[in-house]
Structures are given as C-alpha cells and as structure tokens.
C-alpha cells in the first residue's frame, strides 16, 4: 500500500452511511465501499480515482479516451513518413541508367 496509490473504479451505487456519502465502487471486478464526500458531482456510472477509501477526482472519460488516442498516434505518422522519405533518398542515390526504359545494355 503506498501513499500515492490511487486507482480508477466505476461507481455502481450511492448511499449514505454514518453521515457520509458512500459509493459502491467496482475496480475491475472487485467492489469496495468508498467515501464520495469529496466528489459531490460524481454520480452512478462515473469513473473516479480512489485513494485509501476516498474518491479524490472524477475521471473525465472523454479526456481519457482522447489522451489514449493521442498516445496511439505518437510515432505512427513519423513511421509512415520515414518510409516514403527513405525510399525517395534511396532512389535519388541509386546509379542512374542512361536508358531508364531498359532498352540499352546496363554495362
């Protein structure tokens, strides 16, 4: 258990217990009661970051998906460009035949 260990979970149910707003939060198949007092705008169905039994922040799902998409794109475009540029460079450096259509001998 460590001081910054906060993991994402989905709020399945919200109740009041002992004067606190308590949510049943599902972490990938494991359900725990979490205090939601610090995230009053979190509702059932939302994802939230939980640390030692307390929800600290709502996960902005749109941002999460956008971030993942940005990550996926990273380096992809470069690879495509690299392919074309390298091919062009190779072609430019190759010895030029006097008859590009191959109609004369290559010697």
């Amino acid at each position: 258990m460590d001081m910054c260990l906060a993991i994402p979970g989905k709020v399945e149910e919200i109740n009041t217990e002992g004067g606190l707003r308590i949510g049943r939060v599902n972490f990938g198949g494991v359900v725990k009661n979490v205090c939601l007092d610090y995230v009053p705008d979190v509702v059932v169905g939302d994802y939230t970051i939980v640390h030692v039994g307390f929800a600290l922040s709502k996960i902005d799902e749109e941002t999460a998906l956008q971030t993942l998409d940005d990550f996926r794109q990273m380096g992809m475009l470069d690879q495509e460009l690299e392919g074309e540029e390298a091919a062009f460079a190779r072609a430019a450096a190759a010895p030029q035949s006097p008859c590009p259509d191959g109609s004369c001998s290559s010697k």
Binding site: F27, G28, G29, V30, V31
Partner: protein, 358 residues
C-alpha cells in the same frame, strides 16, 4: 519430543549466517511467510538440530527408504484466518496441502494423519463442517485419513482451530523429481491462474475486505500430476506447488536449489482480471500471492507442448501456460521480462506479505 532431549538455548555465535536470527530474538509473523525469513529459521535452527540427508534437500516431502520401499513423507500445518473463506475452508486446505506436497515429490499419496488443536469454546457445528469437508476432500483425492489426535487449549490460546496433517505415499518408480533437478533449457509451465487463493482470503480478511467473485483454488492435484507423469515421465524434472510466498518464492527457491537462472515472461503469466484488480487495490503483486491448487513444472523442452496439452485437457489445468525457461545466466535469480520490454529481477519475498494465508 522425548523427555531425555532437554532443549538448550541455541548458541548464536556459531551460526554462519551473516545476519543472525538474533536480529529478532522472538518469533515474528514474517517467519511463517514462506519467504526468506522462514527459510532462515529452517536453515539456522531446524536443520542443524535435526541434521540428516533426507531433510537437507528441503523438498516439499522427504524421500525415504523403508524396508526396501521408496516412500515420500510430508507434513503441513494450517493456521488460516478466517477458517471459512470463498472457495473452501481450513479442512480441505489441510487435506489437499499434504496430498499436493506428496504429489509434487513424485509420490502417490495414500495415507494421512490429522492433528487438531482446538480452542475452548469453538462451536461444534463449525468443527463438524470442517471435518466433513476433510472427509470429502480425502475421498475425492483417493486418500485415507488413518490416524489423528485432538488437543484443546484454553479460550484465547488457539484462534478456533489449527490443523496439522502428515502424509505418506509410495514414490512412482522411475520418477526422480526435486527442486535441485531443474536444468538449463527446461521449459517452465504453470497449471493455471496465480494469486486466487491469497486474494480470496484477503477479500474476507478484517480491515482489508472487499467484494468479488474470487474463490480459493484449493484442490488436490494428484490426479493432474499423475496424468502429466504418465505422459512425460522422466522429462519432468521438478514440480512444486507455489503456496505461501507465491510463484516468485517457488521459482527463486528452485533457482537456488538447482543453481540455475530462471527467466519468465510477465505477459504470459495467467492471472484472473479480478485477482489483478484486487492486487492493484491492495498494492500487491500476484507473483507473491499464495496458491493452493496450482503446480509449477520444469520439463525438458521437447516435452513442453505435450505436458501443456495434458494440463489443458484436465479440469484443473484449463488455464495452464508456458511462462519461461531455465538458463545458465544470472544463477540463483529470477528475472522477468516486463510488458515494457525491460528486465526486472524478482527477489524472494522477505517475510510476510499476507499473514495467515494457509
């Protein structure tokens, strides 16, 4: 213990361990953890006092010769808390644990003893449920509980129920397995998902409980192991059930006993998603979490595919996977390749990640 062997205070000065047990002059929970601390207790206290060849191997069972017959003998004590948990109870743990220790030593388990230490006030209904589960487990495993003992201690001195089982079985002819027999090139297989038992216990452990579908994998493995040995015979070099201390401790111990390096691929380790989630929640690593119904096999590489097929065809081995191999590099160390492509050493657990697991 016989009366004429009067216990003497251990002489710390002669121990060769550079970090003598005098660090902790009393027993701490870590000694029961199945990790480094526990091993030190065995090596520095029990071994010197009991010194004999059969014990030295420190296998799951002792290999013995008795009037020409080759036998294996094993014992295990169960102090799990709570006594009843998702997927089982202390009773079947006690039976299956010893059945498995004998089986991974290459023996056919036959006879068990059962010793009970009961706390005054322990409800008879609970004891009945435990004993009933033991009877069923024994029948299912094809073993007989032939002798036993019961003691009662005063209220407050026993945590309900502790059980010790001991067992004997005859060694299969032609089968020589042991933690010291793994060889470079051997393929490493595990019979199914890791971490189930430990996390099932955690889910009902006071202070840490959570809701889940995780159940203990507690099971007798002698049937599964018999099929593997029937198929692959002497191509099987080492077998072990990764109980306390988890897969990591077992692989480290074998690496140490066989004086080889062990390499695993983290992505190939079978872990249930909810067990993984529970580990994330509690900050634990599945490789260190106890199992009670799994076997690790070290087999000659040419037999690996066949053993894998046999495992997957068996109800207890459906999720079997090939997870690594033995190398001559980094001897006595377990190294894992992570999903990132980096290498990390996985050391043996120090003491007690999860107390009172078995």
């Amino acid at each position: 213990m016989s009366e004429n062997s009067k216990a003497q205070a251990p002489d710390f000065s002669n121990w060769s361990c550079p970090l003598p047990l005098a660090d902790y002059p009393t027993i701490v929970m870590g000694y029961g953890g199945g990790g480094k601390l526990g091993n030190e207790l065995v090596e520095n206290l029990f071994l010197p006092a009991f010194r004999n060849a059969a014990l030295e191997n420190l296998g799951d069972a002792a290999v013995l010769e008795l009037s020409g017959a080759r036998l294996a003998m094993s014992t295990d004590t169960f102090v799990v808390q709570p006594l009843f948990f998702p997927g089982g109870c202390i009773g079947e743990l006690a039976v299956n644990g010893t059945v498995n220790d004998l089986s991974v030593s290459g023996a056919v388990p036959q006879y068990l003893s059962a010793g009970f230490v009961l706390e005054e006030g322990f409800p008879l209904a609970q004891l009945a449920a435990i004993v009933d589960s033991m009877g069923k487990a024994a029948a299912s495993a094809g073993v007989q509980i032939v002798t036993g003992d019961t003691k009662v201690v005063e209220r407050g001195h026993g945590d309900g129920c502790y059980i010790n089982t001991a067992g004997v079985g005859s060694l299969r002819p032609g089968i020589h397995v042991g933690p010291h027999l793994a060889r470079p090139g051997d393929a490493i297989l595990v019979s199914g998902t890791i971490g189930d038992h430990g996390m099932a216990i955690m889910s009902v452990r006071e202070g840490l409980e959570f809701e889940s579908q995780i159940r203990s994998d507690c099971a007798a493995l002698n049937g599964l192991i018999a099929q593997v040995l029937d198929a692959a015979g002497s191509a099987v070099h080492t077998m072990r059930d990764p109980t306390r201390g988890g897969l990591a401790s077992t692989l480290n111990e074998i690496a140490h006993s066989s004086d080889v390096g062990v390499v695993i691929d983290e992505a190939s380790l079978p872990v249930r998603p909810d067990v993984q989630s529970a580990c994330e929640l509690l900050g634990l690593d599945p490789v260190y979490v106890a199992n009670e119904g799994k076997v690790v096999f070290f087999v000659a590489p040419e037999a690996a595919e066949q053993v894998l097929a046999v495992l997957r065809a068996h109800p207890l081995g459906r999720d079997a996977a090939r997870i690594g191999h033995v190398t001559t590099e980094h001897k006595r160390m377990l190294v894992a390749r992570t999903a990132m492509g980096a290498n990390r050493v996985i050391p043996i657990q120090i003491g007690e990640q999860l107390p009172r697991i078995c």
